[in-house]
């Protein structure tokens, strides 16, 4: 059934990473990405790869699950790796077969590139998407970005839109399920015929779905107004986020790691 599709990738748990403040996690991910892209020596790449696996262990997310999400980008990785291997030229020739020359530099680049992508995906997913519920993430983003309100960027509105979307996705999925079943019962054939016939079979699903979504939006807007909603101004929040010592410890660890990588770069350049 459609409604079994899990929302986002959130994997409920109670690990150190789960308990970090969402605002801090957003900062950490930024620092981590900078770190990954600062790495330029073999040792730093080894450390980056190691750090990704340390994060994975800390999150207590089944490694299979996270590595599974790497599958999606496997072809892109393989493709860019091959291009790097064959097209990069350098000083140290590794292999020569007719017109094809492969250099050590190419292989090195390919490996570095893969390490970066793996660390990026593993790091960001265990730091953020797997360990932060969508609602906490939205909340964290709104708070982190709130200084932008001064620039008239509708930060609150975006976060409210996200919240409502998260709230209504399960409802609309269930509704789609129901409409599909109702039209099947009226003889709609979704699974055979030409492409145009199949596309036409979607009209009886799309029209009611849109009508209903607009109707819901309308009712929700009235209900929100009746609950005194008038935008983000003057609004308070029930939950106060507290930065705890673990948050600062995590920040220190990330900064230290960035420092180490930069030091290694300078040392070996």
């Amino acid at each position: 059934m459609l409604k079994d599709i899990t929302l986002g990738q959130y994997f409920p748990g109670n690990s150190v990473l789960h308990r970090l403040d969402p605002r801090m996690k957003i900062f950490l991910i930024v620092i981590y990405i900078i770190t990954i892209f600062s790495a330029s020596t073999p040792i730093s790449f080894a450390l980056v790869l190691l750090s990704a696996f340390v994060l994975l262990l800390l999150s207590r997310i089944p490694p299979k699950l996270v590595l599974g999400s790497l599958k999606a980008v496997f072809f892109i990785m393989a493709f860019t790796a091959i291009i790097n291997i064959f097209w990069t030229t350098g000083d140290r020739l590794l292999l020569e077969a007719g017109p094809i020359k492969i250099y050590w530099e190419g292989v090195e680049y390919a490996i570095f590139m893969i390490v970066r992508v793996v660390a990026l995906i593993v790091g960001s997913s265990v730091l953020l998407t797997y360990t932060t519920s969508p609602i906490a993430l939205t909340d964290g983003l709104e708070r982190v970005l709130s200084p932008l309100k001064a620039l008239h960027i509708p930060v609150h509105e975006f976060s409210m839109m996200m919240t409502i979307a998260l709230r209504f996705i399960p409802t609309l999925i269930e509704e789609t399920d129901k409409i599909i079943s109702a039209q099947k019962a009226r003889g709609t054939d979704f699974s055979s015929g030409s492409i145009t016939q199949r596309a036409r079979a979607l009209i009886p699903v799309m029209v009611p779905l849109f009508v209903s979504a607009f109707h819901r939006a309308d009712e929700l807007a009235v209900a929100m107004e009746c609950r005194c909603y008038r935008g983000g101004e003057g609004r308070t929040r029930m939950t106060r986020l507290h930065l705890r010592s673990t948050d600062f410890f995590a920040l220190a660890a990330h900064l230290l790691f960035l420092g180490v990588i930069i030091a290694l770069n300078i040392l070996f350049s």
Binding site: M1, D4, E175, K178, I179, S181, A182, Q183, K184, A185, R186, G187, T188, D189, I203, P204, V207, P208, V211, S212
Partner: protein, 289 residues
Amino acid sequence: MNNKISLEHVTYRYSVGTPFEKTALDDVTLGFEQGIITGLMGHTGSGKSTIAQLLNGLLRPTEGRVLLDGEDIWAEPKKIGAVRFRVGLVFQYPEYQLFEESVERDIAYGPGNMGLSQEEITERVHNAARFAGISPDLFDKSPFELSGGQKRRVAIAGVMAMEPEILVLDEPAAGLDPAGRREILGGIRAYQKEKKNTIIIISHSMEDMAIYADKLMVLDHGHVSRYGTPHEVFSHAEELKQVGLSRPQITKFIMELQRAGIPVEGGIYSVDEAYREVLRAFEKKRMGG
């Protein structure tokens, strides 16, 4: 018993093989008689809606068989589309299925999918509209302009127009006012009288089913706890309470009178019956019985 359609040891599990796997029905055997209206009743979560979708092949049993005229509807899975034309299903709040630009075209959508001739479709649309209480001057209107009750009737007419041998309706009167309920349920009754087909109405309104159904089937956790005429079923009013169904107010009232020492008979579910029964009891005492 002459069962038009039946479930034979049917088990149904949702989302098999995922973490969301859930057993909705467990080894259920039941049958619906030919040519009558059966009221299928049970509390929320008793498996009523799952049964409805199993009957017309929208869901396939995980185990067991669904028999239509004695034949397994899944004998040839490719022909399940034909079963859906023989067993019509009206979902709860079916007004959400309307999509055409006019009422007439929306009612004609189902019959159109059956590959009928244009005349046949027109005739069926008019017939179904009559039973559902939709006057022909609404035919050219957009279904989205109609009132809630009218939309409901158009949606029901859309399935009636397919003239299925069996018509299953899930809470056809939910959320309507008393007049709206009477119109819809009365229309279904009239339709059944003329077409002589088999109708299954899923409802938790005991009051409605007592009036409009020939037989009642009471479900409790996916099993038939009681089957019979309304009179027979309401004679076991205590049992209905145990399976989480509310009994008609008048049925409860008659039982309270019994307890208060007035010798009235149980199994009563309408005001007129209760009236006669109270008069009979009073009369008997006056005559010195």
